[in-house]
Each structure stands twice: as structure tokens, then as C-alpha cells.
Amino acid sequence: MPISSKLSEDKQTILITITGSFDFSLQSEFRSTYRSITRPDSEFRVNLQNTEYMDSSALGMLLLLREHAETYKGRVVLESLSPEIKQILTNAKFDRLFTIEG
């Protein structure tokens, strides 16, 4: 499974893990992991540890997630970035838009 998601017990945090290539083909699957989460102050954590590659559509998908989170006063955290993924995100200056942890 390229995308898996897990809701914490207090239902406040959702962890989305992306394995392999994060690209356009995951668009609808990625969206379906979070669109039903509308509880205020939720935290949307995207784990990119096993993400090998990200294209510009993936950046776009992160922006959509960010918009969703902002609608419900939540926040997005990108975690466990590989050096390659980190470079893609910083090259696009996405570190200004997202909280990045590790």
C-alpha cells in the first residue's frame, strides 16, 4: 500500500504514511485519508520516511491538505524526511508553508 493512515486514540491526530513514489497517481487516495477528518484542532502528520520521490503534483496535494487543515483550524506536520525529499521541499520553499519535523 503506497498510502496508509492511522487515527490516534483521542482522534486528534491522523498519521498518513506514504511509501514509494508520491505522485499524481495517489491524488484521490491521499485526499480520501483526510477529507472526513473535520474535528477542530486536528493534527495532520504526513510521514515521508519511506517516500522515495515527490513530484510537483505531490506538492499540490500537500497544499490541498494544508487548505483542508486550515478550514478546520488544524495543522499539518511533515515528518521524517529523507535528504532527497527534504531537498525537494526546500527547493520549492515549502518549509515556509509547513512545519517540518526531522
Partner: protein, 585 residues
Amino acid sequence: MTSLVHPFALEREEETSSAKGRALIVDDDPTNRAILEALLKREGYQTTTAIDGLQAVQFFSEVQPDIVFMDVMMPEMDGYEATTRIKALAGNRFVPVVFLTALTEDEALEKCIASGGDDFLGKPYKRAILRAKIGALVRIQDLYRTVESQHHKIERLHTQMLREQEVAEHIFSGAVTADNVALDHIRTLLRPATTFSGDLLLTAHHPAGGLHILLGDFTGHGLVAAIGALPASEVFRAMTGKGYSAPEILATINRKLHRLLPTGMFMTACFVSLRADLRTVSIWNAAMPDVLILDEKTGAVKHRAPSQFLPLGIQQNTDCHLEPSEFNITQGDRILLCSDGVIEAREPGGSRFGEARYAQAVTATHDSFQSVVSALDAFCGDRELSDDVSLVEIPCRPEVVNLDNTAPIIPDFAAQSCAKDRWRWSVELHGPSLHHVNPVPLAIGQLLEIECLGTHRHFLFTVLSELYSNALEHGILGLDSDMKSSPEGFGQYYAEREARLKKLETGFVRIELEHLPQSCSSNILIRVFDSGPGFDHERCVKPLEPNLEHSGRGVPLVQSLCKSLHFQGRGNQVEAVYALGKNQV
């Protein structure tokens, strides 16, 4: 219930049933043929019979049966061979071939299937089994037909879509990129992944000289990605043409894309502003791969402009100042831009071209552009592109930045379609308006409608200015150019001009422009009328003489620029013909 039916008992049913199509019966034994024919007629088939394989192949083409019943052992051509040929003739059409056989050996049955057969029917024929087999085969046949018709439909739609996309792309790129400049000198590799490219290259000259280049890359590719190119290019051209600076243009494009594009869609871009003196270049890089400046002599990477800004269209306002990266350059240096499609290009095995290979190719030879193209081609092989690929090399040379050098008196004016329309334009200014409004820039603005005006613009400006000044200053205001003969008089003249203009309440000047396209050139007819008393133009038949009384130095100059110049009426009308041909100097 099964029954062995006597063939002749069924003859009468023949006429009533033909709904199922035609069956081809192939058997060298007349009795077998007759029995099966009767059975099939009863099942609703029309029948054709063949006595051996050879005849079967021949009849197959002639009658186009829907199902074939094939004996195995026959003279001339056996059932295996005939089946193979029939299947080949049928092509994509599914025509079931049922072998008629008493054979029970596995090997022979296998051979039936291997030769292309679809089923067997054991002898003697049992009606129930025959019906069951036909039923099963017809089901498969129906499925085949459905799939085939859907396939045709999809194919038709696909072809139609591609055709429509091609037409749309043609119109689209015309609107977006047709006005690009300096493309004779800029080297580009633009490979869209689909018909529409999400990559965008725009170039335009700044009115103060110098060149603006924007290479953009929209999220994704194809039509959806290309949509944002239209507003981006409009802003880029309009603002560059009016003399806006790169940060102002980028901020406007950003705002426009932010308003138009849905969340998740944006444009990464690099903007290069190459100044006319070729001493410095300013680069704004918004999430594109590093822009490289290559040394003229060694081809080495002299400077590097990495990404500094967010892609355009994500936030309403751009990073506050949009401070560029400024670099000193020398004439002959080259600026190399690429979209991430170059870095992310894949080889058939799936690995990326990558930064390292790109960097290596850039410095591999002096001709970095060609090295990258060759390395990329060698790497990707014939694998289909997964993203749009753009590579652009801008030589820092005068012909790239200099507007005048890039349009040297229009090399082939007649060939340019923009010069073919005939039109007329006029402006008339009355009394006080003559003080407030200068009609010459208005007229020049109109002439700029002729897109390929090039340096004619400057000459036409001179002609119009001179003729208008004459009409206003001598015709309306009654000033005498003799006043200008001394330095003091010169100042006096213009003071008097200003004073008289302020008091002006009546009178008019009218400028008429007419574009007259001709087969191998094009003329612009300029007429200027004034309401003044005119002058004795007959007396000035040789207006080029240096001691002209009435029209000062302006007229000889105008005459030298125009094909013809005539004063008319009482001297209050002048008609000049300016030729927009290749021989114009």
C-alpha cells in the same frame, strides 16, 4: 433429453428461421453435411456447405459466416489447415470454429485447439449438445462484439480528442508564444509530455533595451497544466512592453495565478532580466532547478542561481521584496535554464537523470546545451516522457538584447501576414485641445498595430512629428521659422509658440493615416490638414533647396525619409507616402 434427428424431417423449418446468422458446414461426407445442416436450420441458422477445407476457405470469404463446423479429415485440405487459414482471414472478428470429430485421442483434440478451433462436436450429433455448445459460443461471440464495438468507440473518441487537442494547442501556443522575441539566438529544447505543455517559455524586449525571459513549469502536464499559461503570458508581455520591472511583473503574475488556479496548482518559474549593456543579469528563481551562468571561454559554471522563492500562485502576495540574484557577466557568457522535467527524466529502468548527471553533462564539453541534450537522449532511450522537458540557453550577446539589431529594417516585410490589412485612422484636434494633447504618440500607437514595424517606427515618428509641427506652428499659430535662425530667436520661438497655444480657441489639425498593403511592400499614407491660411506651395516646387522659406529644415528631412511628399490645397494640406518595404533606408 437428447435425440438423433432425421435430417429430412426438418426441411420445412428452413424458411422460418434465419435470425442467428449463417453457419458454414465443412464435411466431405454428404450424409453428415445434410444431418448437421438440418439441425442448424432448426436452430435458426442459414447454412452454406463446403466439401473440403479448400472450398471452406473460399466460401468463408464469400459468405462471411458467423460460425463454422469443421470436419477433420478431408481431401484437398484438412480441417486443421482450413481452420488456421479461416482464423487468419477473420482477423479481429470472432468466428467460432467447432470441430466435428469422432476422435477421442487427446493429441488430436489438442491439435484442433492449436490450429485455432474453439470447440468440438462429437459424432453422432446430439441436438441438445449442439444447442448447448452453440449457446456457449454465441455468448462469447456477443461478448467479443460488445468489447469490439466499445473498443471502436473508444478509439474513435481518442482520435477525435487528439485531433481537437492538436487544433487547440495550435491556437493556444499561437496566443501564448507567438510573440516571443530573439528566438533565433536562444537555443531551446521544448518537449511536451502530451500535446499540451505545462512548461512555458516567454521572451520579450524591454522598451529600454534588454531582454526578459520567463521559463515556467505548471503543476502536472497536459491541458490542465497549460491553462495558466495564457494569463501568465498576457501579464508578462503587457507589463514588459510598458516597461515594468521583473518584480512587479512576477508579483502580478503571482496574484493572477493565485486568483485563477485551484489550490494545489501553481507555477514554478525563473525570470531572467538581461540588461542591454550585457554587464549584469538579474535572476529570480521560484522553485526551479538552479539557473547556471556559463563562462564564455571555458564553458565552466561561473554563477549559480538556486531557488529562492515559493512557486507562483500559492500565496496571494509574493515574498515581500523579491530581491533578485544579481550577477556580473561578460559578453558571450551563456545562461542555462531547465525545467525539472530534465532532472526528473527517467530511463527505461525507471531511475532519474538527476542533478549529478545534469551537472556532469553541462561541463562535459564547451557546448553545454548540446551535451545535456545528448546525455538526456542517451539516458532516456525511447522511453515515453513522463513530464514536460524544457532546456533553454541564452547567449549574452548584443543581438539578443538589442531591439534594433534584432529587427533590422524588416528583412521580409511582405511575407509577414500582419502587414496585409488595409486600414484608415484619423484624429482631429480642435482649439484648446491642441494645447493639451499631442497626437503624434496616438498616431504612433496606431501604427504599432502593424506588428513588424521594427525601425520604421523611429522614422515614422520623425515624419509625423515634423508634419504635425509644421501644421501647428506655421499653419495654426502662424509662427515664422526664420525666428529660429539665431540662438536667441530659437528660445523666443518656443516661448511664442507656448503663449499662442495657450490663447488658442479656434482652428484644428487633422492627422490621417492609411495603410496601403501592396504585393511586395506596403505604404503608409500620412495626411495632415490644418485650418490655417496655408502657404504658396507652388513657389516651393523644389522644397529640398536649402533656402526654403516656409517650412524650415523639417521638410527636407521628411522628404528624404518618404517615397513622396506633396503639399495640396492652399498649402494647408500635406500628403506623405512612407514605404514599408525592404528597400527603405
